[in-house]
Symmetry: C2
Subunit: 212 residues, 2 copies
């Protein structure tokens, strides 16, 4: 049985119910930990599920920050230092990743609070997550303020990627299942995946083929 919710219905929802409902509608999302450092050398780590691809040449991506949340330290540190790390999350430490969303004081590092291990890689000052199998160093490009609700889109460029060699296939495809990366839905639901297939490049009047 189908059910319809109009905008008016959604606006009348209880705040928590609405956040859970609308977030779920966004579908399956990537799950990453963003590592930063402030000008006093204090590290910060925060989980994000809004990482999205913006382009390959140059390699650009974006993610969304809510400045009234535990994510505000991440944004402050990125604006100060101009750099950060992006670390894929797998099933062995997804609870620790989730725990980074708690509102710790600025002087408490989420690395310490959640027992994740910082890893440093020259020339980057921001900490990577040792436990993460896919690590990306990123450079801040610019931020876009959303006047509609005060959220901010951070646009960034990939500076370096470290990942298991056997996860990169012949055509550049990165096998995220082999790397153990997981997905999430809404604010709190974590999911492993199973590949159905990769499909060939689509052309009009040409049948699709399964690549792998």
């Amino acid at each position: 049985m189908q059910q319809q919710f109009t905008l008016e219905d959604i606006l009348k929802f209880d705040q928590r119910y609405r956040a859970t409902f609308v977030n779920s509608l966004g579908g399956f999302k990537s799950l990453v930990l963003i590592g930063t450092v402030n000008d006093k050398g204090h590290t910060n780590l925060a989980v994000f599920n809004s990482f999205f691809h913006l382009g390959a040449h140059p390699p650009l991506f974006g993610f969304v920050v809510r400045p009234d949340s535990a994510e505000r330290h991440t944004l402050e540190n990125i604006l100060t230092s101009g750099e950060f790390t992006v670390n894929h999350v797998d099933a062995t430490f997804y609870k620790q990743a989730h725990q980074t969303s708690a509102r710790y004081p600025e002087n408490v590092s989420e690395f310490t609070a959640t027992s994740l291990t910082p890893h440093y890689m020259e020339p980057f000052k921001a900490p990577f997550v040792t436990e993460s199998k896919i690590k990306i160093a990123a450079e801040f490009v610019r931020k876009i303020d959303l006047v509609e609700n005060g959220t901010i889109i951070v646009v960034a460029k990939i500076k370096s990627v470290v990942l298991p060699k056997d996860c990169v296939e012949m055509d550049g495809y990165v096998d995220l299942e082999k790397a153990g990366s997981i997905s999430c839905v809404g604010l709190d639901s974590y999911h492993t995946t199973t590949k159905i297939a990769r499909l060939s490049y689509a052309k009009p009047d040409m049948p699709l083929e399964i690549i792998t």
Copy 2:
């Protein structure tokens, strides 16, 4: 064994290899079909994997358009009509969804070309996808031009949602696995999911609990 790729390495990749590689790094993504209609009444349907949540109050989301691709008709129609539909994709029609990315001429509807069935719901003029279990009607809010690479972020507001009643849980969480929604990686890899757990709201010094 770990492998490192710097920005310089990535910029030297063959174009197709680079697109596949960088797209994969974005992690698991949502998969939706966007339905539009132009001022002559011609329908268009295109697959997108860049749908991202921007806020719940009001319910806002964004997605990324590459104007030099098969996605250009979608953008033109949205700018003209101010509305569009977002339809979740499941495993029963993912090949048809993928096929919509082929470059059909403007007068060929991807509905006809891929044998997906348009569905109309008052007062919206844009077509929904009958086969899709989660259907969203959306209103264009604004576009953000990315000077860095010519892509465009479309910001939109949810006007209405139709979904199976038994997929909405007590707290507003939408069970996307029950609805059959699938995920994708990169440009062409499709994945089903298996829930690990939902975790409780994180607070400092409070142990996490598994909700379901």
